[in-house]
Symmetry: C2
Subunit: 387 residues, 2 copies
Amino acid sequence: MENEPDTAMRRYGMRIAAISAYAPRNRISNRRIAARLRFERMRVNADRRRHGLGPLQTKEKKVYATSDRWIQRFIGFKERRFAAEGEGTIDLAARAALLLLNETDLKASAVDGIVFGSVTPSYLSSPPDSALLQDRLGILPFDGGQPREFYCIDSSLACSTWVACLRQAYLLISSGAVRNLLVIGADKMSDAINWQDRAFATVLGDAGTVAWCTAVPVEEDWFGPEQFWSWASGRDGDIISTPVGGSKSPIHSLSDVTDYRNRLTMDGAMVKELIVPLVGGPAAKAALRKAGWTMDMLDLAALHEANLVLNQSIVEQWSGSGFHGKVLDAGGMFGNTTTASIPLALALNADALNVGSRFIWAAFGGGLTVSIVLGQIRHDVRVLTAV
Amino acid sequence: MENEPDTAMRRYGMRIAAISAYAPRNRISNRRIAARLRFERMRVNADRRRHGLGPLQTKEKKVYATSDRWIQRFIGFKERRFAAEGEGTIDLAARAALLLLNETDLKASAVDGIVFGSVTPSYLSSPPDSALLQDRLGILPFDGGQPREFYCIDSSLACSTWVACLRQAYLLISSGAVRNLLVIGADKMSDAINWQDRAFATVLGDAGTVAWCTAVPVEEDWFGPEQFWSWASGRDGDIISTPVGGSKSPIHSLSDVTDYRNRLTMDGAMVKELIVPLVGGPAAKAALRKAGWTMDMLDLAALHEANLVLNQSIVEQWSGSGFHGKVLDAGGMFGNTTTASIPLALALNADALNVGSRFIWAAFGGGLTVSIVLGQIRHDVRVLTAV
């Protein structure tokens, strides 16, 4: 840390005082996912018959085929949670945030702002989830008749969202603009599943998390201006994409919805081909170089949990460069919760969050994008879970 | 400016070096809006007859009733632009940004990041527009085989988005984290119109803008850490809201789409009742107080152009508190372009952007939210328009 180049400025440091994670109770096994995909295949075949078309070809049928064994072997996931009907991203976030306010000494009136990371906003265009959460937490917009200053933003960067939001929090807190911020990572990914394609159907899950970020003296900073690194490659945007439903291609017909064209698609082979060598190699190295750190300094790692097998390949490459830290994950029990995956992994491994530990948190995916942060735990972290 | 309280920190100041604005060619008059609403009313009445229901009641018919005269009188809008079929938010932004790169000395390789403000993202969940724009501008993700650091984020805060994004840019640039940032305000609002409700049908329009923000010495800073002020009131979230299509209430049936339940709704009377006295009074005063400024110091104002009549009421209140500056707007010729409205007003009034002028830019709307920034133009601004 002493070697940190001081090209960027801060008045305060930032710590994460507490992390809270919520996951819905409804557990969905790999077997249920496989059964649902089979059901869809039968439905599509029946539709085709009705329209005088032949049955699906072997190649077309393949995208519906999966099993518990296949998912565990190639993805490493055992189950995931799905939110209830009517439970949106705001509800997942509010559960985690209310737990945090109830169980810590953070008062609603001391919260200065909310950076709400999600790729599945509760409402299109308006209202913003950050504003809705303010209300859910009982944070009052007026104080003695005067409007109370409050910072809100909804942000997204596909699977890299959470680290990108943490960087926003760091800029706000380290500059002195705000003191206490809630960084949300919450997603109801179950609604984004295309049930005619195993690529995402086998992985996505729902969860809500909140990280209470607060100002500390610079010498107690967990992070540093040079410890955030990010990358994007928009030319690879189609590898993880929702074809219909955004402004580029609005919903025009019922079949857009019934054929799940407004759901996420993924070219898993391309993700693996591009992301593994990049995050396993030059991206992590660039982040370390910027901070003046080396792989062997790292005690802990948390990677966006899109696929545990893929993450293992990344960590193996890191190990070849001197990494011998502990990898924290959700053990394949919650699926890919997108913006919630890293904070969820941290919350589920509270015992590992020891003072002194140096960590790398690496988020990557749609865009393509990569967001990496390096830091050192310098205070006890309160961890709360309702999973 | 000398009185600015120095509770927040910066290494650099920020200027806006250039603003570029694009609007589609397709002009939509008030008469065409009125005709489209009439057509919808007839369609709904025909549907009701088919289902054995009586015609719409007088009260129900009211939401379809408008005219050129009514819109000009109560909203102040004359026309707006609609993007072409297949033209999404990314295309509106790319047009403005390519114009800027072509006409200024900013090279693609000198752009360090993109803060993409929009409430109508091109794609749901992924890919992010900021990453797509990187590609459209020819900003390369690799440099000599190594991943090139690049900052991306997509952000939204309903109608307050643009000022909130400018604040993010200020934090990134003033801390020294990046040097050249493109702040996008782009929205294809025409796809968010509920054609069975005049509230938004009479106002929304499409546009794309980019502000090139760049680092300057602190003593040339246009802004200051204390010159941004923001507010939210999530309990009023339902006043401007999209009922269906987000994670809180996903699309379940064709009627969700055909009845426009996945489009924006607005309780215009409540917006007026809450926003006008707030922005006209205590919100603007709180922003000025935080900066140590007074109303009479302001030379220029740009307000989110949701409704010119409403804005006039706000400015009248400001005038009562000593404001005697010039108000910049798009003159009701582009409608409410949401995240694009303030930069579009600036671009259309290039002659007023004189060195030395102190300004207030006030964004407000869905959430409810308010985001205000105060500043002083200290360098020539290059303005480009393709409208």
